[in-house]
């Protein structure tokens, strides 16, 4: 199969690059082995939440300056980061993913564990400290669902109380939730969201209305268990409940994350993009310093050919890179990786310390071309969590690195032709 560009990996990085290229009329093949880490995104995107000393970042441009030279942001340059961060928000908006936030000043969001953390962009409808503070009364009710273990209302309450809010926790139940609980392992956010439509949604709204009748709370925080599929359930619930309503993220597979994935992918498909779903790239043909074709586990040797390729296969999750007992490798194309060569240096004994293995990834040149046997593959660009140099969990920079490097490589490909 022949494309202008083949993208390996359909996480936030791969889809961002794919959309950018498809918007410019390119014929893009997006290869995806399994769902991506976007499914765990808690409804907020991080650009740089914590600096190298692990202090929360307010002013992003200032914190960028202190990053090490091997960090993907340092390679992009500070000015590019700030500019591309607002392009990224625009791209999300075009795909129907509405967000609030700025590339210069972080705002504060609520994590799935109920902790207040810095964020770059937060999805519309998800609670932020600003949105709660803009309310006329500082009294909120946190709604918890009977038997639902992936949501921690007490933690949220204690975080908000420190900010001067009065919080009330109200547990509700409905016959539909009870039925779902009959398979207790299935009481997860995504499964709840899948039944929250039509009458079930209205019954949920009724239960909330009933439960908060005597509460003074002007705003309600409910776990993000309502389908954000663009079909208006969130809006319908807000109307039916009749009060200000915000969602807070849950543990496990995240409903806002799935919604973001679905919208981005649908937008890509609507641009004529071609998705090779369930294909894992397993090998490749190189021609001098170029990649000429990749092969997947599904096509019996039918090659995917393209002028340019993007490697966006992510980090350890999804197996873009793999840690063997003695080395970190990139298993599909044999690209060069970067990780401490002495395995005893991979981990620090304190779990909360900086863990050097988390910066492992594939090595690229200053134009984000992937290296193989020490030299750049001139038509293979890398983006996202696959890249070495960022400790995205600790820094909370995952989404920023994914989207900004993806935009950069898409521009490289567009400008090269």
């Amino acid at each position: 199969m022949k494309f202008d560009t083949v993208i390996i990996g359909a996480g936030l990085a791969g889809i961002t690059a794919a959309i950018r290229l498809a918007e410019e009329g390119k014929n893009v093949g997006l290869v995806s082995a399994g769902r991506s880490s976007m499914h765990f995104n808690s409804g907020a995107l991080g650009l740089l939440g914590f600096d190298t000393d692990h202090h929360p970042v307010d002013d992003v441009p200032t914190a960028l300056v202190s990053l090490l030279p091997d960090h993907p942001y340092s390679k992009l340059g500070d000015a590019y980061v700030t500019r591309a961060a607002s392009d990224a928000a625009d791209l999300l908006r075009r795909a129907g993913v509405r967000t609030v936030g700025s590339a210069v000043h972080n705002h504060t969001r609520i994590s799935p564990l109920g902790i207040l953390r810095p964020a770059w962009l937060t999805l519309d409808n998800i609670a932020t400290l600003d949105s709660l503070k803009s309310l006329s009364e500082s009294c909120v009710a946190i709604i918890s669902l009977a038997g639902f273990l992936d949501f921690y209302p007490r933690f949220i309450a204690s975080s908000l109380e420190k900010e001067g809010f009065r919080c009330e926790i109200i547990t509700i139940d409905t016959p539909e939730l009870k039925a779902l609980r009959s398979s207790e392992t299935e009481m997860r956010a995504a499964n709840i969201a899948r039944i929250m439509q039509g009458d079930t949604l209205l019954s949920f709204a009724r239960a909330i209305r009933e439960a908060v009748r005597t509460s003074e709370a002007t705003a309600l925080i409910i776990p993000a268990v309502v389908n954000f599929d663009g079909d208006g359930e969130a809006l319908r619930l807000r109307k039916a409940v009749g009060r200000q309503l915000f969602y807070a993220p849950t543990m496990g597979v995240s409903v806002p994350g799935i919604a973001m994935h679905t919208r981005l992918l649908r937008y890509f498909l609507s641009l004529g993009g071609r998705l090779l779903n369930g294909h894992r790239v397993t090998s490749a043909d190189f021609d001098g310093d170029k990649l000429s074709a990749v092969y997947t586990d599904k096509f019996d040797g039918d090659a995917l050919r393209a002028d340019n390729f993007v490697f966006a296969a992510g980090s350890f999750f999804g197996r873009g890179i793999v840690a063997l007992p003695d080395a970190v490798i990139e298993p599909s194309l044999g690209l060069d990786t970067f990780a401490p060569s002495d395995t005893s240096q991979w981990h620090k004994p304190d779990l909360f310390d900086r863990q050097p293995i988390m910066k492992a990834g594939i090595a690229v040149d200053d134009r984000f071309r992937a290296l193989r046997n020490g030299s750049p593959v001139t038509n293979l660009f890398a983006a996202g969590a696959a890249l070495a140099g960022a400790d995205s969990v600790r820094e909370d920079s995952g989404a920023g690195v994914a989207m900004l490097t993806a935009l950069y490589v898409a521009d490289e490909i567009l400008n090269n032709n």
Binding site: M1, A33, S36, S183, A190, G252, V253, L276, D302
Partner: protein, 418 residues
Amino acid sequence: MDFQNENISRYNFEQCTKCTVCTVVCPVTPVNPRYPGPKQAGPDGERYRLKDSVFFDEAFKYCLNCKRCEVACPSDVRIGDIILAARIAHTKSRPSLRDTMLAETDLMGSLATICAPVVNTTLAMKPVKYIMDRTLGIDSHRRFPKYAGTKFVTWFRRNAESLQADYPRQVSYFHGCYVNYNYPDLGKAFVRLFNAVGVGVHLLDRERCCGVAKISNRLVKEATRDAKINLDAVRKAISGGSEAVLATSSTCCFTLRDEYPHMLGLDNADVRPSITLAVAYLARLIESGDIKLVFRDDYRRRIAYHTPCHMERMGYTQYSIGLLSSIPGVELIVLNPNCCGIAGTYGFKKENYQTSQAIGAPLFEQIERVRPDFVATDCETCKWQIEMSTLQRVYNPIEVLAEALDFDATRKANNLNI
């Protein structure tokens, strides 16, 4: 290191990271709360079942075997295989008369074709449906696919077979029960289309039902018997000069390629790459420049494409989408991924009817909303289900290509003067 490499379990079950992504895509979970879901029924439960089969749950029968969980899993765990293998290994009861009847597509088809007009009217009659519903548990809402009066094979032998050897390339066609007994038109379209691009079509020496229904109804002995006959016939066809053995049904193709080794333990590695879907074969030859399709100028259609679950599992969707959208007059709408709910014989069973329709509902709604001229899909049971549940007709992409083709121009473009 070696220990790690050699300690890989069947179906990759130890690779599971407990991420629960599989449950997000399982069509059954949201509509049937009694189903434990892919993670629980699959890798989680498997750990216990390896110790003791008391951990087997009869509710696993609600699994459709759609394998959507496997496509979604980031760790390549073969969840659907684990569940089906567990059902085969641990279910106590024997398959019922009804399940056996539904699965014996060859036997039922042969009997029915002989007396097609009678069978069609009989199966459509209310009292008969009532009795089937009550005594056999075949849901009375189901419309049975019509049986054709003349089997495809009979038509082929009478009208087409003698001409085939003259074409420059040769393939064999695994037509499947459905084309043979219910829908010879698709088989005829296949032959016309392939002949027009210079490919002669042969039947396999012997062809039995692919066995998908037998496997999912746990009739393993019977399925293995048929599978061995099919694989022998495939080998014979390939050594006899066929470039490939082609199916027009995604499920037949998937069963021959993947369920035979995974579920029946039959090694097909020598011929697996030669067994493929007709659309895949065409797309590859078009890309290599070996054949050309020329389409009619006056063909204008708005087509909605539905991706069958096993098409998605094989990763072949882009072949059909690519071919359909290469027809100049076609506006192609790719429907959102959603199982149609029938899953072969599953939806015919009384206890599954409600679940089956609830699973398909979003698909049917989208089809009605999109209002295409017709729906295209690569699976025959999807076709029944969509035709039964919407106002739309459904065609196989091969039929669409044959319908849109300018035959004379295509034959000329492929230098044919036979």
